[in-house]
Point group: C2
Chain length 382, copies 2
């Protein structure tokens, strides 16, 4: 059994299909957009995720279904799961689609989180602000991504505006965490419960969208804690496939921000940087195959996201060990269009390569936080 | 310009499309077979290579044309080249399609070859046998591959049978070389004349079909000679793209066997074993992009061809650093269906991995020559 249906046809589906084809997997994509970029590398069925008739026909042509998009309606996933294997399960999807259920799961598992409170009315927002404190971030419980569906609250004066922007509806207020670093655990779990994690990845965002990732990024003694948290979440949800657990590092503690039930932007470096990428291992997991090695293939790997506009390809390809990923999408402001992965044999070499690439592509400002962190790591005593 | 048309839709086109998609290239495949395996990863147009009307429509949808198959009729390539860029050029294709023109080119460039003579009649076969000596191999000048279109001549008694099998037509008689090793130079040349070669690869055949490859395989002082020969051939043909030069190592000398004007089976290890694979660099070359680094990404890489039948996938994927490539083709005797690449950090580790994998997949006999060569290398003084 090797025919994999993917709901959602964006870059994640595209990279899944590219990574899975060598395994002998055949992909079929379902998306409502005619220009869904995964459609360039696998046959595309155009339909809405709620169109059960189309879903039924789609399901007949595949052996297993997975997702490039976590906001597929839970009912559609559930409906499909009565007809064929669906990984991750509709239950796992449902929990991670809802920021409140997700945070409650973290709490139940003993995983630290920022303070949070459910908000479903203007009055509850006041109570939540008392409980959580300010500054805080008001978020929709569902359907938020890349900073969308969020409002930052600095003072009591911001409550009305935030409620008007996001309410009424099911919201969550989360304490704003003055974090020292954002990291993610990218991990994968097989149908048989085998669990593997890639080395910890440090991330930098810009305008609420991931801008840079670097792996490995060790937090010393906290590494084991981060991995254990990811494993507990995966086991609780009986999760199958690749997922990301985003964590804040705050005064020496880890606080879970959210879990993404899919391959994740902060794991893109694994295509060239790891022995087996997050995409290949996701496909292996959903097909019931043994998982591949999540170890590094080089000393370190950095991922630079291209958002809104692609830099010049030929300039990038002139650099050493730079791997280009153009998703084939039309340019639009704030849209993720591609990324580049830079591999290096040492931190010093990585700094040199990123400085060169940043300058060459006119992305020096984007690269700066990563270069600064590498310089600090290079100069730190340990 | 990023729309690449490929004539021929086999595994080479498939791996080209998988490697080129991240560069932002969009592929279109032309093949007469409805089940051409590249059609799983890029849109497929069904047509014969001689159907100029279909070729014309195909050409309208792409920016550049290349090949997965060197035996595309030279006239079709020539016809296309009047309409859009075609790489490698029809001239380069034509020379390497003809074993005699190819061997004459080697001779003109001062590259050693086995003795050879043109044969176009039964009488010329006698004369050729006198000139070349026996044992020898009689081959069709065109359209031979994987040992097809060949007959081994051990004594004068074999001449009649060989002529009946292959004649009449344009043939070539080549001296049979008792070689110590077969190696190939996989190299790439850009539109601007930039030339890069991957480390020398040693190859083992079974039943005339490539069975195993190992890179790097240094021949000491001969390495530079092998690379220089490949460069001279590429420059003489004004070649653009990836190609392979197959060489025999015979009593400390290199003898050129043939040149394949395309990505080559003996370069498949470069997908995981090199910083930039033969497939990505071929796409870069035909698109006029800078070439990528052809250096090793690991100590060594071995390629095991799966011919006629695929071994068990799950068993293979349980092994460390084994990379699976199933071309998605229907099993048939002597058909290339897939391959696996094994990477290792030392010869000792490679031996261990190949022994384990060979046993696990019931392919110990296939792996044996490579393991034996590695053991000899490990025990050799240098």
């Amino acid at each position: 059994m090797s025919r994999v249906g993917i709901l959602g046809g964006g870059q994640l589906a595209r990279m899944m299909a590219l990574a899975g084809a060598p395994l002998g997997a055949r992909f079929r994509i379902l998306d409502s957009a005619a220009d869904a970029c995964a459609g360039e590398v696998a046959p595309l069925t155009r339909a809405d995720f709620t169109d059960l008739e189309a879903l039924g026909r789609f399901a007949e042509g595949v052996d297993v279904v997975t997702f490039d998009f976590e906001n597929v309606p839970a009912e559609s996933a559930h409906w499909l799961s009565k007809r064929l294997p669906v990984f991750p399960s509709p239950h796992a999807l449902a929990v991670s689609q809802d920021r409140l259920a997700e945070k409650n799961t973290f709490v139940e598992l003993g995983i630290g989180t920022p303070l949070f409170a459910a908000v479903s009315s203007r009055a509850e927002l006041d109570a939540a602000a008392d409980a959580v404190g300010l500054p805080a971030v008001l978020k929709t419980r569902r359907l938020g991504y890349d900073g969308k569906g969020q409002a930052r609250l600095h003072s009591r004066d911001d409550l009305d505006g935030a409620w008007q922007a996001l309410g009424p509806g099911e919201l969550i207020l989360e304490s704003f965490v003055p974090f020292d670093a954002e990291v993610s655990v990218i991990a994968v779990r097989s149908r048989e419960g085998q669990f593997r994690a890639w080395p910890l990845t440090r991330n930098w965002h810009a305008d609420g969208i991931l801008s840079l990732s670097l792996a490995p990024w060790s937090l010393g003694a906290l590494d084991a804690q981060a991995l254990a948290a990811a494993r507990r979440v995966a086991e609780r949800l009986d999760y199958v496939g690749t997922f990301a657990l985003e964590l804040f590092v705050c005064q020496g503690r880890l606080l879970a921000n959210e879990m993404a039930p899919r391959v994740h932007n902060s794991g893109h470096w694994s295509i060239e940087g790891a022995v087996c990428s997050q995409f290949e291992n996701h496909v292996r997991a959903v097909l019931g195959l043994p998982l591949g090695d999540t170890g590094m293939r080089c000393h370190s790997a950095a991922m630079l996201n291209w958002v809104g506009q692609m830099p010049d390809r030929a300039s990038a390809l002139r650099a050493s060990d730079v791997h280009w990923h153009d998703y084939g999408k039309e340019a639009r402001p704030l849209r993720k269009l591609g990324h580049a992965t830079v591999c290096a044999a040492s931190d010093a070499e990585m700094i040199e390569r990123l400085c060169g690439l940043g300058q060459r592509l006119d992305r020096a400002a984007q690269c700066a936080p990563l270069i600064e962190a590498l310089r600090a790591r290079l100069n730190s005593p340990s």
